[in-house]
């Protein structure tokens, strides 16, 4: 890490130690809740999903959303839950942290290197695919066969992992030595696996088995995850950090590790509904960048009851929020797909398609797919929905927002009313053959039918 960036990071740590002391409840209600309501009104962040659009085509709305998000970021800053202090950033500091951003980065090594490009709305440039189960919990004995299936998917540029239920037969405890054991098991096994499938330089999202800093610090070192892998830092909703994230930020900076920095604004939470989520996405990603000085800021807003990121209100809010950021910054923004549906259903494909099309045409640099069945149903994930998502995302490159809106509206019409049913679908072992490590004929057929639906109904080149 260069000296200038490290100095900026040290200043961030100073803010956590010296900022004004605040009550956390007051933060949520007054600082976030009231301020966001005022900004919605001030910047007129309003639209109708039913009568106007799901995917926005309005540049001035995007630019107003950017100003609103910037104002929230500047006025409120970040809350450190460990020190109970507000970490404020001046407009100058926020702008500086945005100004030093590169327009592209590379991850991985050798033939497995991927370039992540800054993209604009309707950009034909290639979107990077970060694919995997994203921490779906699985039984330890399924770890290797399942991850080998994912690693074999050629469209995956960055590979994410499962979350193990046990490590060497033992329960994993957050913050305990077993978290370090699980983290090492993830690192060593996955590195061996990608070498075996002929993709030794494939960048890995890490670590899915790190709950606290124990897991991440233990395995981002010699023989573990590499600087060219992508390490994770996050906010706690809304706009909160903690010592363990700041500690990881320091470690990743010193090891020159690539980082993904993510926040999940709550739809229906203190930011409110669609309008608040727009502002939360913009403010959140600007502040993530200023606080952690990371590489890939990621947003996957969460519906407060459904836990998904594919609710139509969120899809629409993301389109505006991402256009705001891609039009006004060089942030390499990533969109995180978390459908309610799981493998073995067509709903998962449709939810994934709607979300990814909306975000790719709005300027996403990376798409994360797919955290199936909202990511917390044991064993409910498969690589086929990732393959599908990658194909849809690439097909959406260069699409106009107007065309995208028509497609997304039609797709949303097919799944919006049934999301509350939470069709988690089938287990990995029910949709994949464990001997051949390929989809079952039934699951393959469903995938091919939906691909054909994308081609014939929407003209997507799948």
């Amino acid at each position: 890490m260069n000296d200038e960036k490290y100095e900026m990071l040290l200043n961030v740590l100073d803010k956590a130690e010296n900022g004004p002391v605040l009550d956390e409840n007051e933060w949520d209600k007054k600082y976030i809740g009231e301020t966001v309501r005022n900004l919605i009104s001030k910047y007129d962040i309003k639209w109708s999903l039913k009568d106007q659009f799901i995917v926005s085509t309005y540049d001035n709305l995007a630019d107003r959303a950017f100003e609103a998000g910037m104002e929230l970021a500047r006025e409120i800053g970040v809350y450190c839950v460990d020190t109970k202090r507000q970490m404020k950033f001046s407009r100058q500091e926020l702008e500086k942290s945005l100004a030093i951003l590169p327009k592209e980065i590379t991850a991985g090594t050798g033939k497995d290197t991927v370039t992540v490009y800054k993209r604009n709305p309707e950009d034909p440039k290639r979107v990077a695919i970060w694919g995997g189960p994203f921490g779906v919990p699985v039984a330890e004995e399924l770890f290797k066969p399942m991850m080998e299936c994912y690693a074999r998917e050629p469209l995956i540029d960055i590979l994410d992992n499962v979350s193990l239920l046990t490590t060497h037969g033992r329960p994993i405890r957050a913050g305990a030595p077993t978290e370090a054991v699980a983290g090492w098991q993830e690192a060593v096994t996955t590195l061996e696996l990608i070498d075996r499938v002929g993709r030794p330089g494939l960048p890995l999202g890490c670590g899915s088995n790190a709950t606290t800093e124990v897991g991440d610090l233990a395995n981002t070192t010699y023989g573990g995850f590499r600087p060219t892998d992508v390490h994770k830092l996050s906010f706690i909703s809304e706009q909160k950090t903690a010592y363990h994230h700041l500690t990881k930020a320091v470690h990743f900076a010193q090891t020159n590790s690539l980082t993904e920095i993510f926040c999940n604004t709550m739809f229906g939470g203190f930011m409110g509904g669609e309008s608040g989520v727009v502002i939360g996405v913009v403010s959140g990603l600007i502040l993530l960048n200023a606080c952690y000085l990371g590489d890939i800021p990621n947003s996957g807003p969460t519906h407060v009851h459904l836990s998904c990121s594919t609710h139509p209100g969120i899809v629409s809010a993301m389109s505006i929020g991402f256009q705001a950021l891609s039009r006004n910054t060089n942030l390499l923004i990533a969109a995180h797909t978390r459908p309610t549906a799981g493998p073995g259903t067509k709903d998962i494909f449709r939810e994934t398609a709607a979300y990814l099309i909306a975000n790719v045409v709005s300027g996403a640099s990376v798409v994360n797919c797919t955290q199936s069945a909202v990511g917390n149903n044991i064993g409910h994930a498969s690589p086929l929905e990732v393959r599908f998502g990658a194909q849809v995302a690439h097909s959406a490159q260069g699409l106009s927002r107007k065309e995208a809106d028509k497609i997304v509206r039609d797709l949303v019409g097919k799944f919006a009313d049934i999301q509350k049913e939470k069709r988690i679908g089938k287990l990995f072992t029910e949709v994949y053959d464990l001997k051949s490590l390929t989809p079952t004929p039934e699951w393959q057929a469903m995938y091919e039918e939906t691909c054909e639906e994308m081609r014939s109904n929407y003209g997507l080149k799948m």
């Binding site: 209600k29 329960p171 957050a174 709950t211 509904g273 407060v304 009851h305 909202v374 917390n376």
Partner: protein, 223 residues
Amino acid sequence: MKETIDWVTVQKEFLDNILQGDKEAAIKLAKNTLDTGCEPLEFFEKCVAPSLEEVGKRFETLDIFLPEMVTAAEVVEQVNTEVINPAVAKAKSIAITSKGKILLATVHGDLHDIGKNMVALMLKVNGFEVIDMGVNISPSDIVERAAREQVDIVGLSTLLTTCLPYMKDVSDYLQGKHIRENYSVIIGGAATTPEFAKQVGADAQGNSAAEAVEICKKIMQVM
């Protein structure tokens, strides 16, 4: 002589007051209604409780969001503190305005709290007394606080599978101190399942704030 009260109108006005966060208007309405000769418990049962239930329903359908629910709950707490409870004490009647006492905590290792906070709010708006310990709470602290506060229910939350063992610890510690039978233990959060609840001897597991309320109502009817 006690006046006839148009509860439909009163309840609608009270609901509007609490949704708008108008504490003064809500308190004034409560006082005026009690001044007509209405018993405080009757006001709570015919006005406050249905209003809170409506708030909970509107949050379930996201006709209102979390800030409105927090505001409504806070206004009702003020009405209870300034009007209902003093009136109850004055009348020296035994008024049970609390359905039960519940201790909530996100277990050790986990900093997530939005789900737990939603459960806390929904329980409050449904008439429970809630003690919220916050996040990253050690099993021993949870057990110690439960005993000190003499709660009816211990509610544990976690989003993370790696924090599930700490839920088991709470159950084990209660057993170890021979006080398990004094409490009902309920668990929730994305990482929990009914199977895990059985494994650790929890009384119930829930997947949503609304479900948590139903579970607690059922438990308190039995106890």
